[in-house]
Amino acid sequence: MKYIIAIIKPHKLDDVMKALEEINVNLMTVSNVLGRGRQMGVTEVYRGAKEAGSLLKKVKLEIAVNEDFVEPTIQAISKSARTGEIGDGKIFVLDLPDVIRIRTAERGVQAIG
């Protein structure tokens, strides 16, 4: 199991969600975040609104997947979130030792989807 964290441009969220639905990845956690990359929040073409100095508004997706879904998920996010401009974001892939569904106490691969 892997835990995939993707930081994307806020206006790409719709496209990314649609791309993930197409490969049958429906479970995710989404949050508004602020961040910056190498360019220290350089102004983008459509001026991502800057906050707290050089931080830009981004959206963070967190998705837990079984091994079979790791590569398709990465591909779906990269393709749908890419504009080719600075600030498209990053995808982080982490090992995920365990998952517990609170309602049923199921664990591991049963609990993930």
Binding site: H11, D14, Y46, G48, A49, E51, K57
Partner: protein
């Protein structure tokens, strides 16, 4: 000259200003998504600035100055406020300064195009919005105002009744909004999901400010602090209460819950519908006008709009168009001379003639507003391209048109 009348009309003018900003601005602003709220506030603010200048430079003259051509348009005698001053003009209001009448009417000219912004919200280019607004004020509002309210205006000569602007303000903006919604097209994502209002408390706040300001709009239209103003004041708030309650009850029956958005929409529908009638009908009939207004507007928004799938984003046609038409026709039904000697009796008081005149008034307004809006849209579209680019629409108008965003993520 009467100081009481003058004071009331000046206060009413300020109340009508309050309807556009912040009333309508927050009513609409709460209904759009977070990324577009500033564009709505900005459009209301700039309309207030631009149309005020248009009005004093030539709009007021085209609308109200002595007839220049067969009841179609006023002349330029009053352009730049020449011959408009502190003395009363007996043709319109004999007891208040001409300036007071002029600035009261100015606020009506301001709010009418502001109502329209709800239809093309979240996808119009700011420059195109600005050009369209000035053209629409000049080629739709000014002539129509002259026809219905100006001395020598041809609809006024026929005996058509519109106390405070059910036709000139609401039907004209509502019909134009429907045409614009069809021309500009649906927002991106319309088929995939519903667009949730980002701040309903703003919408209720804005709706409440509209209600408050509407006392100036309707009771102020008596142009005097007298019994007629009191009648308009009472009918306005009675019809609005009936309409707000009715909408909530309809939702309660249909969806098992009365919503705040529904109740405030109903209240605005009631305000719209009583506008042409408020100085001609009695308060009991105002209850009826308000209740029917909510029923009709609810059907227009919940059933007709979703059936035909036009994206009148904030329901300008559904509330102002439908409510304005109903109110104008209702004036033909419920008007009575016992309320206003200067008015006429309606169908229910033995005078079918007035009802037919009101029907014609509605038909003429629909045809005129629709045709002119179509032509003006096409003109602006060729010159400026009305709609923003796809990416700009997705990013939002606040950032792409105004380089600002309304909300920060951290303190």
């Amino acid at each position: 000259m009467n100081s009481g009348d003058t004071a009331w009309v000046l206060i009413s003018s300020a109340l009508v200003l309050l309807m556009t900003l912040p009333g309508l601005a927050f009513f609409y602003g709460g209904l759009v998504r977070r990324k577009n709220v500033l564009s709505i506030l900005m459009q209301c603010l700039i309309i207030l600035c631009v149309i005020t200048l248009q009005w004093v430079l030539y709009g007021y003259s085209l609308t109200f100055s002595p007839d220049a051509f067969k009841g179609i348009i006023g002349g330029l005698d009053w352009a730049g406020l020449r011959n408009v001053g502190g003395q009363p003009n007996a043709d319109y209001a004999a007891t208040i300064p001409h300036y007071a009448f002029m600035i009261f009417q100015c606020m009506f000219a301001v709010i009418t195009p502001a109502l329209i912004i709800g239809t093309y919200a979240e996808r119009i280019k700011f420059s195109a919005f600005l050009a369209f607004t000035v053209l629409w004020a000049t080629f739709v509002y000014n002539p129509l105002g002259h026809w219905v309210w100006g001395t020598g205006g041809w609809l006024r000569e026929l005996g058509a009744l519109d106390f405070a602007g059910g036709i000139v303000v609401h039907t004209s903006s509502g019909i134009s909004a429907l045409v614009l919604a069809l021309l500009i097209g649906r927002r991106i994502g319309y088929d995939r999901r519903t667009f949730t209002p980002h701040n309903l408390p703003f919408t209720v706040l804005g709706g409440a400010l509209l209600w408050f300001g509407w006392f100036g709009f309707n009771a102020g239209s008596a142009l005097a602090a007298n019994d007629l103003a009191a009648n308009a004041f009472v009918t306005t708030t009675v019809a609005t209460s009936a309409a707000g309650l009715t909408w909530a009850v309809i939702e309660w029956i249909q969806h098992k819950a009365p919503t705040a958005l529904g109740a405030v929409s109903g209240a605005v529908a009631g305000l719209v519908a009583i506008t042409p009638a408020c100085g001609f009908v009695n308060p009991m009939n105002a209850i009826f006008i308000g209740m029917i207004a909510s029923g009709l507007c609810y059907v227009a928004i919940a059933k007709v709009k979703s059936f035909f799938k036009y994206d009148d984003s904030l329901d300008v046609f559904g509330i102002h168009g439908v409510g304005g038409i109903w109110g104008t026709l209702a004036t033909g039904l419920f008007a009575e001379k016992a309320v206003n000697e200067a008015g006429a009796d309606g169908l229910l008081f033995g005078n079918p003639g007035l009802f037919l005149t009101q029907c014609m008034l509605v038909a003429v307004t629909i045809a005129f507003a629709a045709a002119m809006t179509w032509a003006l849209f096409k003109l602006v579209d060729v010159l400026l391209c009305v709609r923003v680019a796809k990416t700009e629409e997705i990013v939002g108008l606040d950032l792409t048109q105004h380089s600002e965003s309304a909300y920060t993520l951290v303190d």
